[in-house]
Amino acid sequence: MYNEKVMDHFQNPRNAGEMLNPSGVGEVGNMKCGDIMKIFIKVEEGRIQDINFLTFGCGAAIASSSMLTELVKGKTLEEALNITNMDVAEKLGGLPDAKLHCSNLAADALHKAIENYQANNSPV
């Protein structure tokens, strides 16, 4: 069903876990689909210095979360905002059609985390 790269990220997820005192947090998904992703970022000097995820979801959801964190670490916020769900799927070498819709939302969660960070740090 999944290719080797996806299985690698599923088996050895990068940056899984909770982050204490994140700069921003984003969560997407809904229970009906059965996929919920939460992304934590630590931002320093306009760059994503650290990133973590917590995901309730299928293999594709976990692998795409993991792949996203790897893609994003060290990038500027602007660069990070340009990353799409499709980029993540592509980097994984593709996902089954049925999984593209529901389980491939990690980039959305990241964008929410960045928005959250920006909202927290916007001049009042």
Binding site: F10, K32, C33, F53, L54, F56, C58, A98
Partner: protein, 406 residues
């Protein structure tokens, strides 16, 4: 890596004796039973004998058996066939909320084409209440179709009572017994079931062959038209090797069901006990007692079932989440939802279905493997983190099995 097959609900390995019985019909005895010559007569004899064996295993007459291409065709023939044959009498059909898609989708299409449809609810354990059925039957009811045993949660329905209710009211009763054959004793002599579907690959027979029992006197239309095979009810050159395989398999499967079922129940109950005791926040789905001897279905809270399946598979263990047939879809199982489960819990469901080849060691290895997987996946799950915070505060703990009147 040694592999462990715990997905007997999806399909079973054909028994060696079944394969052995089929082989001569691929090789020497390849004739078409419609032919009058010796090759044809050999095939005809095999067909007749297989029909007799199958009938004997069910306690019915040979002419009440129609061979089909599987359980799906048997269900479709029963439902579409009765609805068509009785169109003049009425158009109301009754089914349950936990049927296999081969029944549920078919009755829904019948509804689209003008039937009215009642879908009976089930209790939290998946049981249909015969009182609900009694109340639902109307003057224009032409068919009641309720499965014998559920493919996902293993719940065994009170079919005998359901069948009697229908017989009392003069309404044909069909049951999808695809999961039940070989697991629970069924003697159709005493039970007023009018139509019954079965599929050989669920009881150590070959794929692509099934049967519909149609009690004498039951009116039935057809799905397909053509030759005069199967007393004109199901045309097409008969699949002789598969029919021989089905007959051999059902003969073996229905021999000493109590003995074989007791052996598997031991494994099942150990598996259930260990899962519930050794893994946090796990619950058993389906009925604690009225359940198929090989079926274990649990919900592992705060993780999604597919991740568990993948981890098990990486360790050589074959299991399923919901029905294998529906695993292409992303929606939570309609069976679990019908039992009143919330989406989260339904998504964490895992089905382990035991068969004749499984051992105690396999059960123990599976529990250990699953425990590791659950730990790993919960470590990544936001839902579990929230839950632990709650539990640590409140010492909360849910029910581990469903509650039911029966």
């Amino acid at each position: 890596m040694k592999r462990i097959y715990l997905d007997h609900g999806a399909t079973t390995p054909p028994h060696a004796d079944v394969i052995e019985a089929m082989l001569p019909y691929f090789r020497q005895y390849f004739g078409n039973p419609s032919s009058v010559h010796s090759f044809g007569r050999e095939a005809r004899r095999a067909l007749d004998e297989s029909r007799e064996k199958t009938a004997l295993a069910l306690g019915v007459k040979p002419e009440e058996i129609i061979f089909t291409s599987g359980g799906t065709e048997a269900n479709n023939l029963a439902i579409q066939g009765v609805v068509e044959a009785l169109a003049a009498r009425g158009r109301h059909v009754i089914t349950s909320a936990v049927e296999h898609h081969a029944v549920l989708d078919t009755v829904k299409i019948m509804a689209d084409k003008g039937c009215s449809l009642t879908v009976l609810p089930v209790d939290r354990c998946g049981i249909v209440d015969p009182d609900d059925l009694r109340k639902a039957i109307r003057d224009d009811t032409v068919l009641v179709t309720i499965m014998t045993a559920n493919n996902e949660i293993g719940t065994v329905q009170p079919v005998e009572e359901l069948a009697r209710t229908c017989r009392d009211k003069g309404v044909p009763f069909h049951t999808d017994a695809v999961q039940a054959i070989g697991s629970i004793p069924l003697d159709l002599r005493g039970v007023p079931i009018d139509l019954l579907s079965l599929s050989a690959h669920k009881f150590y027979g070959p794929k692509g062959i099934g049967a519909l029992f149609v009690r004498k006197g039951t009116k039935l239309g057809k799905l397909m038209f053509g030759g005069g095979q199967e007393r004109k009810m199901r045309p097409g050159t008969e699949n002789i090797p598969a029919i021989v395989g089905l007959a051999k398999a059902i003969e073996m499967a229905t021999k000493d069901i109590p003995g074989k079922s007791a052996a598997i129940t031991v494994l099942r109950d150990r598996l259930i006990e260990k899962l519930l005791n050794e893994i946090d926040a796990v619950q058993l789905n389906g009925h604690p007692v009225h359940r198929l001897p090989g079926n274990v279905n649990i919900s592992v809270n705060f993780v999604e079932g597919e991740g568990l399946l993948l981890d098990l598979d990486l360790n050589g263990i074959a299991a399923s989440s919901g029905s294998a047939c529906t695993s292409g879809s992303l929606e939570a199982s309609h069976v679990l939802m019908a039992c009143g489960m919330d989406h989260q819990t339904a998504h964490g469901s895992l089905r382990l279905t035991l068969g004749h080849g499984n051992t105690l060691e396999e059960v123990d290895y599976t529990v250990a493997t699953l425990k590791n997987s659950v730990d790993r996946l919960r470590g990544m799950s936001s839902l579990y983190k929230n839950y632990r915070r709650q539990v640590d505060k409140n010492h909360a703990g849910g029910e581990k099995t469903c509650t039911t009147k029966r």
